[in-house]
């Protein structure tokens, strides 16, 4: 039991990394499955289209799904163009805030597609199929020879051999695997560099950041629990009135404005250290608007604040 608790605590503290790793493993597994089961290079003029479609279209689909399932994106976009609110005038600071949150969302959504492309390149058969159909390679290998040479090049993925005169050509599989390794290495280097820079620019210290993440997790759990209790009480009161025709008691529920204030994007202020919008709203005079001021700091290191709230997707 103790060991289980230790494992669970480890999982909770490294939730983000484990989450992304799970997504990557799932994507890598699906890519291998698709390549083994569904992919069969036609070895004719369709090679280029077929290979590129199998390489890039699933990556695009995963990217779109990444946006669809991202909480932060829907927090940003919900009610942004509601009737009665003017979308045309956006304050300069807010505009950059929107752009930086959108950038964070794009980066999270890019994990699965990049994994797909990297694993596909390491597997080599998709790249080989696509490039063997490219007119550039065919012209390079078949200089001065007829269209039969082009067809020979297109049949390389199906076990065909190269024309005798074109032996100084690096195997397509080798090219693919080298590209895959370079892609993985550059992504890792970029991620490390960006994380380093973000942490350096964080306005709060290491321990406070650690406490903050745990606070948000707990707040989310308590929100779910309190929301369910509140909803149950309201439903019971309504149904009792409907079935028994008793007079309904007045029921106190947060107003529309309260909900809007706590749903807005988080902004850190060194003067009042609030750990979430709910904390900020109830600490200020309830009912006053907690607009962002000039002293607010929008740090990428604090991007986790908007992402850890209720894990509800935006899907239909």
């Amino acid at each position: 039991m103790e060991k289980f608790r230790t494992v669970l605590d480890f999982c909770l503290s490294h939730q983000k990394v484990l989450g992304y790793s799970a997504v990557s493993l799932l994507t890598a597994g699906s890519e291998r499955l698709f390549s083994a089961v569904a992919f069969q290079c036609p070895c004719n003029s369709w090679n280029m289209l077929y290979g590129s479609v199998f390489l890039l279209v699933p990556a695009l689909i995963l990217f779109l799904l990444g946006y669809l399932l991202n909480v932060r994106a829907w927090r940003l976009f919900t009610a942004c163009c509601a009737p009665g609110r003017c979308c045309c005038y956006i304050h300069r600071r807010r505009f950059w805030r929107y752009v930086s949150v959108l950038w964070l969302v794009t980066v999270s959504a890019a994990v699965a597609p990049l994994t797909w492309i990297a694993v596909a390149l390491l597997g080599a058969n998709l790249y080989e199929c696509a490039v063997s159909g490219s007119s550039l390679l065919q012209r390079h290998l078949c200089q001065g020879r007829g269209t039969q040479c082009h067809e020979q090049v297109a049949r390389i993925p199906c076990g065909g051999t190269l024309p005798k005169e074109a032996q100084t050509f690096v195997s397509l599989q080798t090219q693919s695997q080298v590209l895959g390794c370079i892609l993985i290495a550059s992504i890792m280097a970029l991620v490390l560099a960006v994380t380093c820079i973000n942490r350096c620019r964080s306005p709060v210290s290491f321990l406070q950041l650690r406490f903050w993440k745990i606070y948000l997790e707990k707040e989310r759990e308590v929100f779910e629990r309190k929301a369910k209790e509140h909803a149950t009480k309201l439903a019971e009161r309504n149904l009792k009135c409907f079935f028994e025709s008793t007079e309904p008691e007045p029921f106190q529920t947060p107003s529309n404005k309260d909900w809007q204030q706590i749903s807005s994007l988080y902004a850190f202020n060194t003067k009042g250290q609030y750990y979430s919008m709910i904390h900020k709203y109830i600490s200020a005079n309830r009912g006053t608007s907690i607009k962002s001021t000039e002293e607010d700091v929008f740090s990428p290191a604090l991007g986790f604040v908007d992402g850890t709230d209720c894990n509800e997707t935006g899907t239909l």
């Binding site: 479609v53 009610a79 079935f243 909900w259 899907t315």
Partner: protein
Amino acid sequence: LDGKMHWRKAIGYSLMGLLTVGSEHLFSLSAFKCPCSNKNYTYGLVYLFVPALVLLFVGFALNGSTWQLFTGCCVNPRKLFPKGKSCHFFHAFGQITLKAFVAPVMWLSVVLLNGTFYECAMSGSKNLKYLEMLCHNKSNKCLEELPKVACGQTSLSSWETEEILLTLQAESQVVGWCVIVTAAFLSLLITCYGHCQSNTSHLQKRFWKIYTEKEKEQFEKYFEDYATKLSERNLKSFFENKKLEPFPMPSLRAWEEASALDSFNINQQIFSTLHKLVEDSMKENDSNETQDTMVNLVP
């Protein structure tokens, strides 16, 4: 898993996908036999689209909102287009249709990625240009032997047959990926539009979903409770020949009003039709009017 609604949704959709793949394999193995004649095109298209249509109808039937929308509409057609809210019907029907389209799109993607049905259909195509493209650089009898390629019973050489089959499969898979990416893109656009246009903030929407779930649970509980009490009272009176005790139940009109679809406004902190009914009755009580129409005593 209690609070993780989106994981439940994801698992639900994945199971649906696995079920689709399983059924497709079952169909291919047991029922599908390409006729390898001039009927290929019709046969292939039937296998591609008819199961998708069936899944669409099943999607409509299994959605509770469909029945909420249409129950009693013949008796009272005005119910579908209430005054001032005519487009409500289209909005609700639109949402039901979008949800019902998920299963057919999954079916189409799976069968196109597999390729068997498409190969059969297109090898019997009547489009001469397309057939000539398939038979490009092949022997003269390619055009007449093409419908038999899916069965492997042609007199063409094995490399020609293999190339035609691979080309057809490649086409099928490219079309399949296009279907999936279009569906994903449209899905994203519609969700984005829906979210941007909505007046409600993110967390309020979350609370609203929790409330709807809890209200449904409470409804079931109250239904069972009241049904038990009413049936006990009825049967007790029947068997023991006793006088009927009065039993208060909502009137027909109250049930009608509670069954109306989406006639509430979240921005006024009202989260369901029933909630609106209760709040309205509270306002009427405040202005000292009697609530005769709300409740009947069951005879």
